[in-house]
Symmetry: C2
Subunit: 354 residues, 2 copies
């Protein structure tokens, strides 16, 4: 920290991303990436001819990408904003819809980034405890006067909130924005996108990092009423007008248009998830019911931190959060079948002490 | 605007980027892009094999890119932070070094984005008038108690501030950060990068959008003392840890390593600038002395707005700012020789009324 750091920046709560080791070849099951490469259509879109055009700015309006997204979800371009990952979109939303006297509420166990972004804008953050079983009780949010942020499915649990509950929240106070972060929805959750036309106070965020195999392309988007999108653009044009680079605009549009590949990848992840959950349970793990591309699981023998470290020594990275309530768990990304089999083999060896 | 927009967001002053028309083929001399494609080494770096890895997150630390930048400037990795364009880096700097009671000062005629970003964080902004001839008087900033932001060369004038003046500013108050935005420095300005090791309160920002032909890749960076860089990372990890995508990391590193290509492109721009300035002056234009890849010029016949519109009708885009003091000018990006010749032809036709 320098002596110049502003008081506001001293109050920040920076997020710690999962390890991205550069030194060794790990089986990476720690940051919820897809085990599959992007669609061949994405690879074709990223041609040398397009790379030659990198001397020109990207379209600040992200027109072609937004059109592809809108088309996929039966919405219009005015319902869409794209960003440099959904993290950026979430930051825009915190700035647009929260401020002094209008804070944000989110679960005590959820995506750690909400906390960081609330601090970025000096917002009052209410952390609402999940139930003992990690399910979310929508009653807890009904009378909160600020913006409500729900990850659905939630991270790192993988558990979902029923659409009916979200409807209640939206209807209880139409003067309040509800942000539903659907980063993991394509792996089995029920999406709120069909509600976008119905509720002017609903903002749904999604990402291409998981189900579209584009984590390294940094492409996220939000869907909402045109007025909400306009507000987000107001923030974007105050922060970084050309926020999505040319190649990511192309990659995102191509990924959005390859529905077959998308479905095939999501199905494979769901199948591997079911297999992995059964295998873990057979080995005495408690596994939360997941609709995401990861499992949150607790060994009946090893504490989370120890399991994490032992697996890392054996070349497998999973994510462990050294945090109250979830210290016993590890979060395991669903990779390819081969990767999950390698995980089981190492867990068996660990148990056998070999 | 929705009814949910926070008071803070209502106070924003969004930036209007230059036109990026999608409908027609223009000669684009309006957003200071390079007329040259990126280095062939950049094109080689963006291989299909790398695109296949887009399913994996980018390195949040931007290690390889920062190393390439540090190597080029004789600094170490701790002196560097990379961002999604230098706009993002500037936003991080405003958050890190400004706050309540510590505002920002910048020229009345300068890059419009400082204004937008100061508003984003609710900062007090002092706009310091340039002299009548658009030169910057460093005396005006000596006793300003907050952060000073100077574009050097300045935009849209192209004019420079001597390094000696910046030294005075740095030394006058070591308790204050001076940000020198060197987006255009490679076209003939004197860089402050050699001062980075000398002054703990200097932050230099640069971009690959202009001299490295990568506007569409969105790659900017800042150089400064390790403590300043640490502060900027604190903001970055509160906003968007994976802020630079995989392909831009590769493109940026490759561009930074192709010194020959870089020099060739910069020399061509300087030559075309000299040619264009002379041609404009021969046609009665007043042209400010530019060290950037654009000229700020005023016709002795046509007001800026009319010139801008007439050229646009003739297929040439230049930038016009409908703003006090500079309404008579247009900003003309230096393109290829052919583009500049086409510009002169249209100016001649305009004068001839044909």
């Amino acid at each position: 920290m320098s002596r110049f750091l502003s008081l506001e920046a001293q109050r920040l709560a920076p997020y710690t991303p999962g390890e991205q080791p550069r030194d060794q070849q790990y089986i990476k099951l720690n940051t919820n990436e897809s085990p599959f490469p992007p669609s061949p259509k994405v690879l074709d879109a990223l041609s040398r001819a397009e790379a030659e055009k990198l001397c020109l700015y990207s379209d600040p309006a992200c027109g072609a990408l937004n059109a592809a997204i809108a088309g996929r979800y039966g919405l219009s371009e005015e319902n869409v904003i794209s960003g440099n990952g959904s993290d950026e979109i979430l930051a825009f939303a915190f700035r647009a819809f929260c401020g002094e006297g209008r804070g944000a509420a989110f679960a005590d166990i959820t995506y750690g980034f909400y906390e960081a972004q609330a601090a970025l804008f000096g917002l009052e953050a209410r952390r609402v405890p999940l139930r003992e079983d990690f399910s979310l009780n929508v009653e807890d949010y009904l009378d909160f006067p600020g913006t409500v942020v729900l990850a659905n499915p939630n991270a790192p649990t993988g558990m979902t909130v029923p659409t009916a509950a979200i409807r209640r929240l939206l209807e209880r106070d139409p003067g309040r924005v509800v942000i539903v972060d659907e980063a993991y929805v394509d792996f089995g959750g029920e999406s709120c996108v069909p509600l976008v036309r119905e509720y002017g106070n609903l903002l749904v965020t999604q990402t291409m990092s998981k189900s579209r195999s584009l984590a390294g392309g940094r492409i996220g988007f939000a869907l909402g009423a045109p007025e909400l999108i306009e507000d987000l653009n107001r923030v974007k044009y105050s922060f970084n007008p050309y926020n999505v680079n040319r190649l990511s605009l192309l990659a995102g549009a191509a990924a959005m248009e390859d529905e077959d590949y998308f479905r095939t990848c999501c199905r494979a992840v769901r199948d591997n998830r079911a297999w992995t959950a059964a295998e873990l349970e057979a080995r005495g793990f408690a596994v939360l019911p997941s609709s995401a591309n990861f499992l949150f699981a607790k060994s009946d023998r090893l504490p989370g931190g120890e399991l994490y470290r032992s697996l890392k020594e054996r070349g497998i990275l999973v994510r462990w959060f050294d945090k109250d309530r979830i210290r016993d768990f590890v979060r395991i990304t669903i990779g390819s079948r081969e990767q999950m089999e390698a995980l089981m083999e190492q867990i068996d060896r660990l148990s056998a002490g070999t």
